[in-house]
C-alpha cells in the first residue's frame, strides 16, 4: 500500500539560506513517525514544507497526489492538521472558539458536534474553562488545546511540532499519552517533531534523525533506541 505521505528529495530555503538539503521520508497510514534532531536541523522546516508554508523543490506526495505547490488552506481541506511551533492558538479567542476553529473546513454540523464532545472527553478541563481566553491557559493546557483543536478537524494526518517544548515532564507525558491512545484506538496517523528523543522514541513506531537538513539515520524506534550514535547524541547515555 502506498504511504499516506511521502517526501522525495525535498529542498527548502529561506532566502539564500538552505534549510533542507535533501529530505526523503515516508509516513504510512496508521503510523506514528518521529522526526528527531538538534536545533536548526530542519525538523520544523520539514513540517512547514509539507503544509505549504515554505516553498520547496522535490516531491511531496500526500494521499496519492502531488501537493508540493498546494497552499496550507488546501491541505487543511485534504485532512492535514498541523500544530505548528508555538502551538498556533488564537490567544484572544476563547478556548471554545479556538476549538471551533479546528472544524472550520468541515461541513457536517452533526459530526462536528460529536467531535467537539469527544475533545472534551479527552481533555475534561476544557468544559469549565471554555469561556476563558486561550492566552490565560498554562503552557500544558495550551498544548493540549492545540492538539484537541487539531483533532476536531478529524484529520487524516496529524503533525505536531515539538509538543514538549516548555512543558513539565509530567505534562509532556500526558500529551504523548493522548497521542498514543488516539493512534491505538482510532488509528490516527501522526508525524511528530521532537527534541525529547526519549519520549518520542517510546511512542513512535519509526523515526528519522535529521542533521543539517538531511536524514542522517532512519529506522524503527526500537532500533534507534539501541543505535550507538543516536544514544550518545540524543538520548544521553
Amino acid at each position: 500500500m502506498a504511504p499516506l505521505l511521502e517526501l522525495r528529495g525535498v529542498q527548502a530555503r529561506y532566502g539564500p539560506i538552505v534549510a533542507l538539503h535533501d529530505v526523503s521520508i515516508t509516513v504510512g497510514e496508521g503510523e506514528v513517525v518521529a522526526l528527531l534532531g538538534a536545533n536548526g536541523a530542519g525538523k520544523t522546516t520539514t513540517l512547514r514544507a509539507i503544509s505549504g508554508l515554505v516553498s520547496t523543490t522535490g516531491e511531496v506526495v500526500y494521499a496519492g497526489s502531488q501537493v508540493r505547490r498546494a497552499t496550507p488552506e488546501r491541505l487543511a481541506r485534504l485532512g492535514l492538521a498541523h500544530v505548528p511551533e508555538g502551538r498556533g492558538l488564537f490567544p484572544e479567542l476563547t478556548v471554545w472558539e479556538n476549538l471551533r476553529m479546528g472544524a472550520y473546513v468541515r461541513r457536517d454540523r452533526r459530526g462536528v458536534k460529536t467531535d467537539l464532545d469527544r475533545a472534551v472527553e479527552h481533555f475534561p478541563w476544557i468544559r469549565e474553562r471554555r469561556h476563558q481566553h486561550a492566552a490565560t491557559l498554562s503552557g500544558g493546557e495550551q498544548q493540549m488545546l492545540a492538539v484537541a483543536r487539531a483533532l476536531v478537524a478529524r484529520p487524516r494526518l496529524l503533525m505536531l511540532d515539538e509538543p514538549s517544548l516548555g512543558l513539565a515532564p509530567l505534562v509532556t507525558q500526558e500529551v504523548f499519552r493522548v497521542v498514543h491512545e488516539l493512534n491505538e484506538q482510532e488509528g490516527l496517523t501522526v508525524l511528530v517533531v521532537e527534541q525529547n528523543a526519549q519520549i518520542a522514541l517510546t511512542v513512535s513506531h519509526r523515526a528519522y534523525v535529521l542533521e543539517v537538513g538531511r536524514v542522517a539515520v532512519e529506522g524503527s524506534s526500537a532500533e534507534l533506541r539501541e543505535h550507538e550514535g543516536v544514544r550518545r547524541s540524543y538520548l544521553g547515555y
Binding site: E73, G88, L89, P91, R100, L137
Partner: protein, 301 residues
C-alpha cells in the same frame, strides 16, 4: 450667540441630537476600527467611500424612483462589494509593505473617490430624502426629532447585527481568527485574503449606513463626511483603536459632549466645538494612552 435659558425640554432635545450625531461618528469609527483590526490599515478614505456609496443611494432614489429602504439595503450590499474589491485590487499589493506606503495609498484612495464623486455627480449639493419625516415626536411636552431617533435606532440595529455576526457565525469567527493569527488561520483552512476583503466590505457597508443617515440632515455633497471623518477618527482613538465597543462608546460620547458643550457653555459655541472636543481627547489619551476601552494586557490566572 446668546446663552439659552436652561429648560429640561431643551436639554433632552440636545441630548437626543447629540446621540444622533454621535451615532454617525460611531458607525464611521467602527468602520475604521474594523479595517484597522483586520488589515492594520488606517483608512483615510473611509469617509469618501461612504459618501460615494451615499451618492449611489441618491441615484437609486432620485433617478430611478426607488423608495428609501430598498435603496438603503441595496446600497449596503453594493458598498460591501466596493469595499471588498478595493481591498483585493488596491490594498492587497501593498499588504506586506511599509505602513507609511499604506497610509499614502489610502490618502490616494481619498482623492480618487472624491474625484470620482465630482466627476460622476458634480460638485453641487443634492437634496437627499431620508426615511424619517422631520415632524417631531411629542413625549410629555418635549418635542423629539424623528430624524434623530431614527438615526440612533438604525445605528444601534446595525451595530448589534454586526456584533451578532462576529460573535456567533463561523465566518465572523474566522474573520477574527485571521486578524489575530493569519498563519495559524491558514493552517485551519481559512482563506485569509478573503477575510481581509470581507473586513473591508463590512466597513464600507457601515460607512454607507452613516452616509445615508447623515445626508438628509446636511444634504449630500462631495465633502459631506470630511469633518465627520475627523470626529470618527477621534472617536476610534478615544475608544481604543482596536476596540469595536470603544469606537461606538467613543462616537456617542463625542457627539454628546460636543453638542452639549456647544449649546450650554456660552463662550464655546459652534466655532470652538471641535478644538474643545480635541483638547478633551488629548487629555484622555494622556491618562489612558490605549484609549478608554483599549486592549488590556491578558494575564494568566
Amino acid at each position: 450667540m446668546l446663552p439659552l435659558a436652561f429648560t429640561w425640554s431643551d436639554f433632552f432635545q440636545q441630548v437626543v441630537f447629540g446621540l444622533a450625531i454621535g451615532a454617525v461618528y460611531a458607525s464611521l469609527a467602527l468602520a475604521i476600527v474594523l479595517i484597522y483590526r483586520t488589515t492594520h490599515v488606517v483608512n483615510f478614505a473611509q469617509g469618501e467611500m461612504a459618501t460615494f456609496t451615499t451618492y449611489i443611494a441618491w441615484t437609486l432614489t432620485a433617478n430611478h424612483g426607488w423608495s428609501f429602504w430598498p435603496a438603503f439595503f441595496a446600497t449596503i450590499v453594493i458598498a460591501f462589494g466596493l469595499g471588498a474589491a478595493t481591498e483585493r485590487v488596491i490594498i492587497r499589493p501593498f499588504e506586506r509593505g511599509d505602513p507609511l506606503t499604506l497610509i499614502l495609498v489610502t490618502i490616494a484612495l481619498f482623492v480618487i473617490f472624491n474625484g470620482l464623486i465630482q466627476w460622476i455627480w458634480g460638485p453641487e449639493q443634492k437634496v437627499f430624502l431620508g426615511a424619517f419625516t422631520p415632524k417631531p415626536f411629542d413625549i410629555g411636552g418635549v418635542a423629539i426629532s424623528r430624524q434623530d431617533v431614527g438615526v440612533i435606532v438604525v445605528t444601534l440595529i446595525t451595530v448589534t447585527v454586526l456584533w451578532l455576526f462576529f460573535r456567533f457565525t463561523k465566518l465572523g469567527l474566522a474573520m477574527r481568527a485571521a486578524a489575530i493569527a493569519p498563519v495559524a488561520s491558514r493552517l485551519m483552512g481559512v482563506r485569509v485574503g478573503w477575510m481581509y476583503a470581507a473586513g473591508w466590505g463590512f466597513a464600507a457597508s457601515l460607512g454607507a449606513v452613516s452616509g445615508m443617515m447623515v445626508a438628509p440632515v446636511v444634504s449630500l455633497s462631495p465633502s459631506m463626511l470630511q469633518s465627520v471623518l475627523v470626529y470618527a477618527f477621534a472617536a476610534a482613538v478615544l475608544g481604543g483603536i482596536e476596540s469595536p465597543v470603544g469606537a461606538v462608546v467613543g462616537g456617542l460620547l463625542l457627539g454628546l459632549a460636543t453638542t452639549l458643550l456647544g449649546a450650554y457653555v456660552s463662550f464655546i459655541g459652534v466655532d470652538l466645538e471641535l478644538p474643545v472636543a480635541f483638547s478633551v481627547l488629548i487629555l484622555v489619551l494622556l491618562f489612558r494612552p490605549a484609549g478608554l476601552l483599549g486592549r488590556q494586557v491578558l494575564r494568566r490566572v
